[in-house]
């Protein structure tokens, strides 16, 4: 057993209203630069829909993620190392998306709005941010936002392919949901495995996947490798960029910008401990529908003394373990089993999980007798507006059973809380049938519905004082180019000597000569 800690996220899709605040604040923080205009480290897709980039889930086209080869061993779908060399893919990557699969970024010719009064109302025309020329807009960020009922979004969504034909065409049965997406910070990251230069890596401390900009040589295999298409190519620096999980904030114990600003409070961040030795074995589970379970089996109980001992031995610090014990992720994914990985069948072991949405059926069914006869929710879930098959294709490799169980649980929790707050009787045995108790239902309700800041975000600090000479940085960090802006860099060495047990007299003698400070 090799214990590693992973920072991960759960998004409660039941509460996502598709407002794009996460995307906008993320963009303002990370990708409002030339070369990065088209990148959305976080984006929100309307489902069913084509997604961003177009049809990113169609792995027969983009060749992302892993597959099992004939011997049942893991192999990158885009081809092994030898295959990349021998087929000259390094000169031309056949599976890489191009700009039009995302969209060509543009701005507007705002100057025309400020001229003299003219006969016709002036119009600001779209201007490409790459070529600077006027352009005709036929694709853009969230081009199919809220258009889930249209033929185009139905037809082009790969998740719709296994769904009965009658749902597809029947406008009255159309459905819609939102899917916010970011980098999954996978346990078995295909982008990392694809990177020839070794620029992409997983942080040992918290599992965040980053691109080392100094090492990146722009070979672009990461873009193909990532099945979620969450590694982007900056056309100006000619290097790869991706979601950083806002690591500078995480290191300070703060949530990512997308989570912090989420108005629906749908996002949860926490640590989870997992067994790194068994990751490959878990990814080699041949049955797609069992991959969710095999990933679940990797997670370790942070309260198990044996796990704690091993974690400490493997270099996980105590604060991280304590945070793992209070982790909302562990509670939702492992204890309550209401959160699921996005497309586990890509075999990357993604670590941004989703609580499937429930609302549409409840309005239809909840009406009169649901509190009295809560078992009615069991047939109701099957009749849900968002087909369980669709959610299963999205979140469980086609395993409808596990999705249904989660939805039963969420629905039952609602019924229980409604009965409780309206003073009606509720038979606790009904809770038992979905694996809840009165306490666990109440605590799940608190976590999902009340969603207090401190319950949503349980993030260990990075203990920077152990990693950097913080004495030197005090008052000067970020002003490296400015000579004399901070005195700490000059005095830091003295503080360190004092900490190491050197007497002040000796430090004085070493640093001052005849009353003059030696710098």
């Amino acid at each position: 057993m090799k214990v590693k800690a992973q920072i991960s996220m759960v998004l409660n899709l039941d509460k996502c209203i598709g407002c794009h605040t996460c995307s906008v604040t993320c963009k303002q923080t990370w990708t409002n630069r030339p070369g990065a205009e088209y990148m959305w480290f976080n984006n929100v897709e309307t489902r069913p829909g084509v997604g961003y980039p177009k049809k990113w889930e169609d792995e027969s086209h983009y060749k992302g993620g892993w597959k099992l080869n004939r011997k049942g061993k893991l192999e990158l779908r885009a081809g092994s190392k030898v295959n990349k060399v021998s087929l000259a893919k390094i000169f031309y990557n056949p599976d890489m998306p191009n700009l039009d699969d995302y969209y060509e970024p543009w701005t507007y010719d705002y100057q025309t709005l400020f001229g003299k009064e003219t006969k016709h109302q002036p119009v600001a025309r779209a201007k490409s941010q790459i070529t600077g020329e006027y352009m005709k807009l036929n694709n853009g960020p969230n081009w199919d936002d809220d258009l889930a009922g249209s033929d185009r979004s139905f037809g082009e969504d790969p998740n719709m392919q296994n769904i009965e034909a009658d749902i597809k065409g029947n406008f009255e049965k159309t459905f819609m949901m939102y899917l916010p997406r970011l980098c999954e910070h996978c346990l078995n990251a295909a982008c990392v495995a694809s990177c020839p230069s070794g620029a992409m890596y997983k942080r040992d401390e918290d599992g965040i996947v980053l691109v080392d900009q100094e090492r990146c040589r722009g070979w672009r295999f990461c873009m193909t490798g990532c099945p979620y298409k969450k590694v982007y190519f900056n056309w100006k620096t000619n290097k790869a960029e991706k979601c950083t999980f806002c690591y500078p904030r995480i290191e300070e114990g703060l949530p990512t910008v997308c989570s912090e600003t989420c108005v629906g409070r749908i996002r949860y961040i926490g640590v989870i401990l997992y067994d790194a030795d068994r990751v490959q074995e878990a990814c080699e589970e041949p049955d797609d529908t069992k991959l969710y379970q095999s990933q679940l089996d990797l997670f370790l109980d942070p309260n198990d003394p044996e796990v704690i001992d091993q974690a400490l031995a493997d270099g996980v610090d105590m604060e991280t373990i304590k945070c793992a014990q209070r982790s909302p992720i562990y509670k939702m994914a492992v204890e309550e089993k209401i959160a699921f990985p996005l497309h586990p069948e890509y075999r990357t072991m993604p670590m941004v999980w989703y609580v499937p949405p429930l609302s549409p059926i409840m309005n239809y069914f909840e009406g009169k007798n649901s509190i009295k006869y809560p078992e009615l929710i069991f047939p109701a879930i099957e009749e849900m507006r968002i087909p369980v098959e669709y959610l299963a294709n999205l979140l469980a490799g086609g395993n409808t059973e596990v999705i249904k169980n989660a939805l039963y649980k969420l629905a039952m929790m609602r019924l229980y809380m409604r009965a409780k707050t309206s003073g009606k009787d509720f038979d606790p045995e009904k809770l038992d049938r979905v694996g809840l108790t009165e306490e666990s239902a109440t605590s799940l309700y608190r976590l999902l519905a009340i969603a207090k800041y401190e319950d949503r975000f349980v993030i260990p600090k990075s203990k920077k004082e152990n990693i950097e000479h913080v004495e030197d940085d005090q008052g000067g960090l970020g002003y490296e180019e400015c000579d004399g802006c901070a005195l700490a860099p000059a005095h830091g060495s003295m503080l360190r000597k004092a900490k190491a047990g050197m007497s002040t007299k000796d430090i004085y003698a070493e640093s001052f000569y005849g009353g003059i400070w030696r710098d």
Binding site: G132, A189, K202, R217, R220, W235, L312, I467
Partner: protein, 237 residues
Amino acid sequence: MEDIGSFLLWCVFPYLALGSFVFGTIIRFTFFRDTITAKSSELLEKKLLMIGSILFHVGIIFVFFGHVIGVLIPKAFTDWLGIPNEIYHIGALVMGGIAGFMALAGMLILSHRRFANKRVFKTSSFSDLVVDLAFLVVIVLGLAASLGEGLFLHPEFNYRLNLSVWARQLFYFRPDFHLMLQVPIVFRIHVICGLLIFAFFPYTRLIHALTLPWQYLFRSPEVYRRKPNIRGDHNRG
């Protein structure tokens, strides 16, 4: 006076060019490491790149090794192996010709793409354009020299008797410029252009050729990195 010109051209200039190559490479790798990239524009245009890039790269790699063989292996060695000059010459012409035309075709497509495709052109730096044209020129000159001169104008000319000797002399710092005076003009211009490419090589996108990711073949798929712990204790908290 003419001698001084030739001396500068064939005994000084090559060292300046190669010196610039070595110096630039060291500087780039030590101080500007983060600027080294393959500078791909595949994101902006894909179709022409496919044919152009593969043709050019495969062609130019064969051309490069052909030059290495032609320059570094003395005629005496192939004679000793018993390879007649005619056979060697025809072999070199055929293989070099195929590789050369591949590189040329690739370069023509890539140049068309770089100058005619708006996205690619607008995102090109000055050095990208220079590199593009320089390669086009040097490949055309190379083909003109080996095929035009070698087949039609001066079929009796054998570069291995003078040009290659001079090139090898460069490596032990005794270049004799008189050897180069026997060489037809097209060859000479080709050599100068080639040396110029070496001279600006490390300052341009060409540097990516020196960062071939061979380590990839030997490393494990997943890469973990940790910030160094200056306190040396893991169980903190």
